[in-house]
């Protein structure tokens, strides 16, 4: 008994060695890792369902998301209207399904854009240091000094309210945070001996920055990014609320909540509840998935 147990423990490192050979394809490997971390698998499944919902929207529902039908206004959830209808008689479920497109579009592109721009400035300022660092960081500081909403209003006032401009606003508001995060990571990774070794092997600055330093800073960025996906949805909702984001009657989850809150007090809870539930699910799944993503990209955690 004792012996068998010990034998099993001895085999463990061998197993990790063979792991990489076994799961050669990246997809297989990521699925394996997600399976090892069940929480992120749940997150991944929810996220996948929401994405599928957005892509295959019309197959889920028979209603039109923006067609008013005053005869069926204020209907509570039932078998015909699964999540009820709003004050204009639009089916809430239909609007949520179509709204998923808008929200996923905003969330992913604003986060990816902010990460890319943020990484670029962060890595340059962290790597070169000194006056480059000073100039970049002071400019980003001044961007961050504006209250988010006022900054957003200023940009939206210039560009005009639209979905695309919401993304631009979110990127502009968000990327300095990534720059700061990446810069601090670069400062510590830069000191590592393998960066010295990379320089001693004759690598050029850009190669060192993007091949050796950058991948070593990505872990916290994935986590921050996945947290930010949820934040982007909420932020898009608040921009829509003050009329600078997605314009009604376009379906957007945050906008639907703000429309619904007016009727909440009268007992018509479903108008705000269901979009809120989906935002909650989306944000939650993004966060759970982020944790697992870190495992996929960091060989040490495999």
């Amino acid at each position: 008994m004792q012996f068998e147990k010990r034998l099993h423990e001895d085999e463990k490192p061998l197993f990790t060695h063979s792991l990489l050979l076994k799961y050669k394809s990246f997809l297989k490997l990521s699925f394996y890792l997600l399976k090892r971390n069940p929480l992120s698998l749940v997150g991944g499944i929810i996220m996948l369902l929401i994405i599928l919902m957005g892509l295959l929207g019309p197959f889920f529902t028979v209603y039109d998301p923006i067609k008013t039908d005053l005869k069926s206004a204020f209907l509570p959830p039932s078998t015909t209207h699964w999540m009820g209808t709003n004050e204009l008689g639009m089916d809430i479920f239909t609007r949520i399904v179509y709204g998923a497109r808008v929200d996923l579009y905003i969330a992913f592109f604003s986060v990816i854009g902010a990460v890319i721009i943020g990484l670029f400035f962060g890595i340059i300022s962290g790597y070169y240091g000194r006056w480059v660092d000073d100039v970049i960081m002071r400019i980003l500081d001044s961007l961050q000094a504006f209250p988010t909403i006022i900054f957003a209003i200023a940009i939206a006032a210039v560009l005009g309210p639209s979905t695309r401009n919401v993304i631009i606003v979110l990127i502009a508001v968000n990327f300095p945070m990534y720059s700061r995060l990446v810069r601090s990571l670069v400062l510590s990774v830069k000191q590592s001996q393998f960066i010295d070794a990379a320089r001693a092997a004759g690598n050029k600055d850009f190669r060192i920055m993007f091949l050796h330093i950058l991948p070593n800073c990505m872990g916290p960025v994935y986590v921050q990014g996945s947290l930010n996906v949820g934040w982007a949805v909420l932020m898009a909702a608040s921009l829509s609320f003050i009329g600078l984001g997605v314009q009604p009657p376009n379906p957007e989850w945050g906008l639907m909540i703000t429309e619904g809150t007016r009727f909440m007090i009268l007992g018509e809870w479903w108008m705000a509840f269901f979009p809120g539930l989906f935002i909650f699910l989306f944000v939650l799944s993004a966060n759970m998935l982020g944790d697992g993503l870190q495992d996929v990209f960091d060989p040490k955690r495999r």
Binding site: L21, F194, D196, N203, D298, P299
Partner: protein, 346 residues
């Protein structure tokens, strides 16, 4: 001694002439190197020995052109095959690093990028300097890993640095450093983080690889045993200067500088090692240099002149030089411990 005798050639691969490097700090200007002269004989292994902070690594970094702010090369020349490295542009130096001069680092595990496996890391360097494609690089990597004595190299290609032992990582570092057949190989304390048994293996491997590839090597270490085992020439460094240089056998058997004598007396290898000897005093502050000989305060053989004038590098035998006023009397077989009694009698 376990010296490997190689054919002597008069050619100098690397010449460092009067190199001054300073670091500007809050407390003042630190003179990390003040007038270092060092010649590396082609095809030979030279050991650079000295205490921590004596400027060994700064010498190596200067040769690589990797001195960064706040460090600065004030003056001096570094010739590699009669080409001055210090006036070369950064992009020229980038082509030289890794291809013509390559370096092995102290802690092999942290000197490999943790996120890439062996195959990728080798591929990066082979693509950079030899423009090999993935398949050629894989083939060459397997050959190289085989030649540095890694069992089952094909399986090791998939391994990440954290999955291997430190000795294994150092073998891979050596394979990487030698992958482009560099003319000069600098090893910065290559065996410091390793077990003693692995140390011997790595040194053997190093020795063999350097002869196989016909490279010239500079080993930086504070371990006299390493020098005795591998190096053809030894340079002893003290307080940012080279105080003694010569063939290893001569330096070990007939040290001309009191600091070298002290080092040897305090090592495991000395004959009367019932109690450990140590050199009294401390390394001088590199910010405010004492005038005269840097070692004078700690030297038991020091005289008045030692505190006043900086001794010149004196060449006493062929290739054997020391920076000491008393070097010539040491060369007559006198040891520093009996030097003082002698001078008292005289």
């Amino acid at each position: 001694m376990f010296l490997i005798q190689r054919e002597d050639s008069k050619e100098m691969l690397l010449r460092i002439e009067n190199l001054h490097v300073t670091f500007e700090t809050f407390h003042g200007v630190v003179h990390a190197l003040s007038g270092v002269n060092l010649n590396l004989h082609e095809g030979k292994i030279t050991g650079l020995v000295g205490e921590t902070g004596s400027g060994k690594s700064v010498t190596a970094k200067s040769v690589m052109g990797l001195i960064t702010k706040p460090g600065k090369i004030i003056s001096g020349k570094i010739y590699l095959e009669n080409e001055d490295l210090l006036i070369k542009s950064e992009s020229k130096m980038q082509d030289i690093r890794g291809k013509i001069i390559s370096m092995i680092f102290q802690n092999p595990r942290s000197a490999l990028n943790p996120l890439f496996n062996v195959e990728d890391q080798m591929f990066f360097i082979l693509k950079r300097h030899q423009n090999l494609n993935k398949r050629e690089s894989r083939k060459k990597t397997i050959e190289l890993l085989d030649s540095v004595g890694i069992a089952d190299p094909e399986r090791r290609l998939e391994n990440y640095p954290f999955e291997m032992s430190t000795g294994m990582c150092q073998r891979i570092m050596i394979a990487m450093a030698l992958s482009c057949q560099p003319k000069l190989l600098i090893a910065d304390e290559p065996t410091t983080g390793l077990d003693v048994t692995i140390q011997a293996q790595i040194l053997d491997l190093f020795n063999q690889m350097v002869s196989d590839f016909g490279s010239t090597a500079l080993i930086i270490t504070h371990d006299l045993g390493v020098v005795a085992e591998t190096c053809d020439y030894t340079a002893v460094m003290y307080a940012s200067q080279i105080v003694e240089f010569g063939p290893t056998q001569n330096v070990f058997n007939r040290p001309l500088h009191p600091y070298t004598q002290g080092l040897l007396a305090s090592s495991f290898y000395s004959e009367n090692s019932e109690s450990f000897y140590y050199i009294p005093g401390r390394v001088p502050n590199l910010i405010n240099f004492p005038s005269g000989c840097q070692f004078a305060e700690r030297c038991e053989a020091s005289r008045q002149i030692c505190f006043e004038e900086n001794p010149p590098m004196e060449s006493l035998y062929e290739n054997h030089q020391a920076k000491c006023f008393a070097a010539s009397s040491f060369s007559k077989g006198k040891n520093w411990s009996n030097y003082k009694t002698d001078s008292v009698i005289n």
